[in-house]
């Protein structure tokens, strides 16, 4: 519904005592610029009062013109076009309370007019008193009072907005079901939160119900256990009673006592038997001893008898032996003599053999000695020869003058020195060469020497020399050079030295020295050879050889002497000395043996004699004993006793065996065990019987006490409580589940609807928002007011913040463009939309203000805007003329 205010007239309204009329309003933007205190806000108030305040309202005192009394009647007239139809609203207050509305052909009066207006424009009237924000509805949203632009309370116009946001074909599914839906949701939520925590866990009564169930279950479990124990004990009681009863009847220990007595009797019998056995055995042992003694005695007697016989035999034997030994002695003596003879023979043989051997030996010796002597003589001769030779050589060597190699070397050295000195001299010396014809001779006089020169040759002149020329002239040659003298001297020294050496050595020249050296060397060599030869022949020396020779000769003499001493050789005895020796040894051994056996035989003989004598003595004694008269008697006695004892022993043995067998068969050890076992069993049975009696008393007592507790009644009561607790829990659970499901579904749906609902609003916001903040988006909250702003910050990331936290200026801007969006939506829904901005955007900086003006201009294409400002300079670029209030 397109709304356009065309004319406004106020009278007797605050400062406007006289009427003020403004007409010619534009369908879009209208800017009224006036200084402060010019009455801009009064006009806004007038418009608001014309709509919001009942004409009969008493809360409009502020409209009264200043200083006027009760007669004042503030008047407001408003002409507007609504969808092309003329409307005129005339309202006066206080002094004259009137209201008329002419809507085309229709006329409304008073309250009807006001109600019609309210319905048209989407607001309501206060019940009594002044009109309040909750009454202002759509106009309250779109008419921004001074300094209130940054606030935005959509709640009072929300239903209108909801209606506006509904689908055009009125599809109820897309609309939020009034505010009733939210109230229902809140109520259900509250009910749910009574039973569940925010995370869906049971709480309060619900949790208590669960706890109660658990507690009762535990109690019931405990009681069940007690009942079970009780029953078990009852059963135990029955069993024990039965057993006790049985034992009381049967008295098993009695039977055992009988058995025990029997066993004891048996034991007694057995013990008696054993006693007897012991006695018998003792007696039997006694008898055995007696028997032994008797046996000994009898044996002794018998022994005597035997003894005598033995002695006799021994006597005989001894005699026999004596005879034997005598014979043996004779025999042995014979043997000994024989052996002696043999020994002697052997000795003789040996002697002759040895003599023969000796003889041979000596012969050999002699031969050998002779050979040795010959050899020695030969050697000696050779050795002497060598020796002589050697001596000759040595004499020669001694005779020869000695010269050493060193000396020769020294000579050589000196010769060389001399030679060098000579050369040096010669080099320096003046050389005089001469070639003289035959027969010519020159005289050279130098150093007081005169030399005759002839033929060809050269002379060194190293000292002033005079050469006499034939014919009486002379040449005096004085060699040059300083050191010529020195050199000559040195040369002379050297020569002297050499001569001295030669002299000392006794040679004429070096050659001689050398040859002498050589000769001496040869001589030495020869001497060595001769020595060697001597050594070979006479290693130990001549004397040794001589000695040997002498020895050999003496040996010869000895051997010969010995040979002579030897007796004449016997013709026989071809025995070798070894054979003879061995034979002799054998014979000697045999002789010894024979002697020994003779000695043995003699000893045996004497022993036999001794034995024979003693045997005879013993025989005599034994026979004497036998003849003893008492002996017979003793023998008879002993024999008798022996028999008696034997019989008794036999009888006793039989009885013992019998008794023993009996006792063994009766197993006394087992009988003892039986007694022990029975004794213990009896004890045990009586004791356990007694114990059981005590236990029965105890159990009966326990059961009496337990029975008195009325356990099963308690259990039933508990079971009942548990069942009810469970039922309550189930109910609460069901309720909680249902509430949770319901809340969940409702919230889900509501959210979805809200999102759908907000879509058109969101898109209208996005129409304006980029003009102010490019790239930003704003999210509406459930109340359809802008809540969150999301912008791209410097680094390109999106950051969100609450609108509430923005600055004053930004809030005013955002909330203003929200109103533009609301106005667009409301207009689409067919609502009249008029925007009144009283002194808006005063806190916006220049760039933002420019942006807002663009948005405002755009909005003004669709809605009539009345903009009141005291800053006309800010609003010159809006494409409309600024009006003043004149």
């Amino acid at each position: 519904m397109k709304l356009q205010i065309t004319r406004l007239r106020v009278e007797q309204l605050r400062r406007f005592r006289a009427p003020l009329e403004l007409g010619g309003f534009e369908p879009g933007l209208n800017i009224l610029a006036a200084p402060n205190e010019a009455g801009k806000s009064t006009l806004v108030r007038a418009i608001r009062a014309a709509f919001f305040e009942r004409h009969r309202s008493t809360a409009v005192e502020d409209l009264r013109p200043w200083g006027e009394g009760s007669g004042a009647a503030p008047l407001v007239e408003l002409d507007f076009l609504l969808d092309g139809q003329d409307h005129r609203l005339v309202k006066s207050f206080l002094g004259k309370k009137r209201c008329t509305l002419a809507a085309g052909a229709r006329a409304f009066d008073g309250t009807d007019a006001e109600d019609h207006l309210a319905q048209l424009f989407g607001f309501s009237f206060a019940g009594k008193g002044a009109s309040k924000p909750e009454n202002w509805g759509i106009p309250g949203l779109l008419w921004v009072e001074q300094g209130r632009g940054q606030e935005l309370d959509v709640s009072h116009a929300r239903d209108h907005l909801h209606d506006a946001l509904r689908d055009p074909d009125g599809d109820s599914a897309a609309a939020l079901a009034a505010s009733g839906g939210d109230a229902i949701l809140d109520s259900l939520r509250a009910q749910r939160d009574e039973l569940l925590t925010s995370t869906g866990k049971p709480r309060a009564a619900h949790a208590e119900a669960i706890a109660q169930v658990a507690a009762l279950e535990a109690e019931l479990g405990a009681i069940d256990a007690q009942v079970a124990t009780y029953r078990q004990q009852v059963d135990q009681l029955a069993q024990m009673r039965q057993q006790h009863q049985a034992d009381e009847m049967a008295k098993p220990w009695e039977a055992l006592r009988e058995e025990l007595l029997a066993a004891q009797r048996r034991n007694g019998a057995l013990q008696a038997g054993q006693e007897q056995l012991r006695n018998d055995r003792a007696r039997w042992r006694q008898l055995q001893e007696t028997r032994e003694l008797l046996a000994k005695e009898l044996a002794g007697l018998a022994h005597q008898q035997a003894e005598a016989q033995t002695r006799e035999r021994a006597c005989q034997e001894a005699a026999t032996q004596l005879q034997d030994s005598d014979a043996a002695v004779a025999h042995a003596r014979q043997n000994a003599a024989e052996a002696q003879r043999r020994v002697d023979g052997a000795r003789d043989a040996w002697r002759s053999a040895s003599q023969e051997a000796q003889r041979r030996n000596l012969g050999q010796l002699l031969q050998q000695a002779q050979a040795d002597a010959a050899r020695s003589a030969e050697s000696l001769a050779r050795a002497e020869e060598a020796h002589a030779r050697l001596a000759a050589l040595q004499a020669a060597a001694a005779a020869a003058p000695k010269i050493r190699a060193g000396d020769v070397e020294q000579l050589q050295k000196l010769e060389r020195a001399e030679h060098d000195a000579d050369l040096r001299r010669q080099a320096v010396a003046t050389r005089l060469q001469f070639v003289l014809p035959e027969g010519q001779t020159l005289e050279l006089q130098a150093r007081d020497q005169t030399h005759g020169l002839h033929g060809q040759g050269e002379r060194l002149i190293d000292a002033p020399a005079t050469l006499r020329l034939p014919g009486g002239g002379k040449l005096v040659i004085t060699p040059g050079g300083d050191d010529l003298v020195t050199l000559a001297r040195s040369h002379a020294d050297a020569r002297d030295a050499l001569h001295a050496a030669l002299l000392s050595l006794g040679v004429d020249d070096i050659a001689q020295a050398r040859s002498r050296l050589g000769a001496s060397a040869d001589l030495d060599a020869q001497i060595k050879l001769a020595q060697q030869a001597l050594g070979i022949v006479a290693p130990r020396g001549l004397e040794a050889l001589r000695g040997e020779l002498a020895q050999a000769q003496s040996r010869i003499a000895t051997a010969q002497a010995a040979c002579e001493r030897l007796p004449v050789a016997a013709a026989e005895s071809a025995l070798s000395i070894e054979d003879a020796e061995s034979a002799q040894q054998a014979a000697a051994a045999a002789e010894q043996a024979a002697q020994k056996s003779l000695a043995d035989a003699q000893r045996r003989q004497s022993a036999a004699q001794e034995a024979s004598a003693s045997a005879l003595r013993e025989l005599a004694a034994a026979q004497a004993a036998l003849a003893d008269p008492g002996r017979q008697q003793r023998h008879a006695q002993a024999t008798q006793q022996w028999l008696a004892v034997g019989a008794e022993a036999e009888a006793l043995t039989a009885r013992i065996d019998q008794t023993h067998a009996d006792v063994q068969a009766a197993r006394p050890d087992i009988v003892l065990q039986d007694m022990d076992r029975l004794q213990r069993s009896i004890e045990q049975l009586t004791r356990s019987h007694q114990l059981r009696r005590e236990q029965l008393l105890l159990l009966e007592n326990t059961l009496q006490q337990a029975g008195a507790q009325g356990l099963e009644e308690q259990k039933e009561a508990l079971a009942g409580q548990l069942m009810q607790a469970r039922r309550r829990h189930a109910e609460l659970q069901r309720r909680a589940d249902a509430l949770a499901l319901l809340c969940h579904k409702l919230e889900q749906k509501r959210q979805a609807t809200l999102a759908r609902l907000q879509a058109p609003l969101q898109s209208r916001m996005q129409h304006y928002l980029p003009l102010l903040m490019p790239g930003a988006t704003v999210q509406m909250d459930a109340d359809l007011a802008p809540a969150t702003l999301t912008r791209i910050n410097g680094s390109g990331a999106a950051e969100s913040g609450q609108l509430q936290e923005l600055s004053f200026g930004a809030r005013e801007q955002l909330r203003l463009i929200s109103r533009f969006a609301y106005a667009d939506l409301l207009q689409e829904a067919g609502r009249p939309t008029l925007l009144i901005l009283d002194d808006a955007l005063v806190h916006s900086d220049a760039p933002r203000l420019a942006q807002m003006k663009r948005a405002l201009f755009d909005a003004a294409q669709r809605h009539q805007v009345l903009l009141f400002t005291c800053h006309p300079e800010h609003w010159r670029d809006m494409g409309v003329a600024l009006r003043s209030l004149a």
Binding site: S172, A177, L237, G707
Partner: protein, 382 residues
């Protein structure tokens, strides 16, 4: 002419703890009260003896007070009370009977027959052959010795046993111990008084179950009675007269709701419950919102009126009709949620269906509360 009163299965000591704590004591008390009534009846009808065929007590360890109260309740009849232990109160080495003996609460006219041997009551002219249970679990026929038992000539042979007659009562029987179905004839009994089956039941002319005098189960099997037996002479057929002695009526109501009229019928039934009724209600099927509200209201009223009413609606599906949904005035996303919850109940047995049903019920309740606020939605339209 000998006259007996036959009862059994008193189950004294039963607490009904699963019931509401307000009702349970009353029901427990009723069990003692009915014994007093039995005593009064016995005196009124001048019976020669009262036969109690087992399960006098529900558990062995009843409280001392209960014990005393029970034996006090017997004081209304001075003649012999012949009691045998059943499976709940078997004569074990230590049992409720030994406790009672120790406490000295057993009056002299109360004969607890704890051993299986003949007891002769000369002056009354009968011999009783009891088959007491002496073990916690018995699997053999304890009445077998009846056949060979001798009683003095000219006396009635009365059998007293506790167990299940072979071949006749297969299900729901308490104990295992069997009783031959022809025991009365093989043992030449004039009457065999049985216990264990809680309903009053005739086995044959001489063999009866008296049932429990005060019902304790919802199953309707003729419980709440005692039997008056008249036997003219040994060998004569007994004349058996059931007497109603119970205080309360126990019943089980199983309802299936398919159409709204089923709900009405059920509600009518519920309206008839009074303070004598102990009822167990199981409802299954489906119901709409209004139907459920009506049903719940009726249940509330019936609960207040009856002695005890326990209700199980778990198998009842809440299926809101379209009108219900429209009536909820749930538009927008609320409506969508309602639809989803309805769809989730498509498979009725899954746990999701249960939760969805509960959720829908909650949502419906909320919406119903807020119905007045919905007129604002109407005012908006231009």
């Amino acid at each position: 002419m000998t006259r007996f009163l036959h009862s059994a299965d008193w189950q004294i000591g039963r607490q009904f703890a699963t019931f509401d704590p307000e009702h349970a004591p009353i029901l427990a008390e009723a069990r003692i009260t009915v014994v007093e009534r039995l005593a009064a009846l016995a005196t009124e009808h001048r019976v020669d003896a009262v036969l109690v065929a087992g399960d006098v007590f529900d558990v062995q360890t009843v409280s001392e007070r209960t014990l005393r109260r029970l034996f006090n309740a017997l004081s209304g009849y001075a003649g012999p009370w012949l009691v045998i232990p059943g499976n709940h109160d078997a004569a074990l080495a230590e049992s409720v009977w030994t406790r009672a003996e120790r406490l000295g609460v057993v009056p002299p006219n109360v004969h607890a027959l704890l051993v299986p041997e003949v007891r002769v009551f000369e002056s009354q002219g009968f011999a009783v052959l009891p088959a007491p249970l002496t073990q916690r679990h018995t699997y053999n026929d304890l009445t077998a010795w009846f056949d060979a038992a001798e009683t003095p000539a000219g006396m009635l042979r009365i059998g007293l046993a506790h167990g299940s007659v072979q071949g006749l009562l297969a299900e729901d029987i308490d104990s295992a111990n069997p009783i031959a179905p022809d025991r009365a004839s093989t043992a030449r009994l004039d009457y065999l008084a049985l216990g264990d089956w809680h309903g009053c039941k005739r086995i044959d002319a001489r063999t009866w179950y008296a049932g429990t005098p005060e019902p304790d189960r919802f199953k309707d099997n003729g419980a709440g009675q005692a039997l008056l037996i008249d036997i003219a002479e040994p060998g004569a057929e007994p004349q058996v007269t059931p007497l109603a002695v119970a205080s309360f009526r126990w019943q089980s109501i199983a309802a299936v709701l398919q159409v709204p009229s089923d709900g009405h019928a059920l509600i009518a039934q519920l309206e008839h419950l009074n303070s004598q009724d102990v009822a167990d209600l199981h409802v299954r099927g489906q119901v709409d919102v209004a139907g459920l509200q009506r049903l719940q209201a009726a249940i509330g009223r019936a609960e207040a009126r009856s002695r005890h009413l326990q209700v199980d609606l778990s198998a009842l599906r809440l299926v809101p009709t379209d009108e219900d949904i429209a009536g909820l005035q749930a538009d927008g996303y609320l409506g969508e949620v309602v639809q989803e919850l309805r769809d989730a109940q498509a498979s009725p047995d899954s746990p999701e269906a249960r939760v969805a049903q509960d959720a829908l019920a909650l949502l419906a309740a909320e919406l119903a509360q807020r119905a007045p606020a919905a007129d604002f939605a109407q005012a908006r339209k231009p």
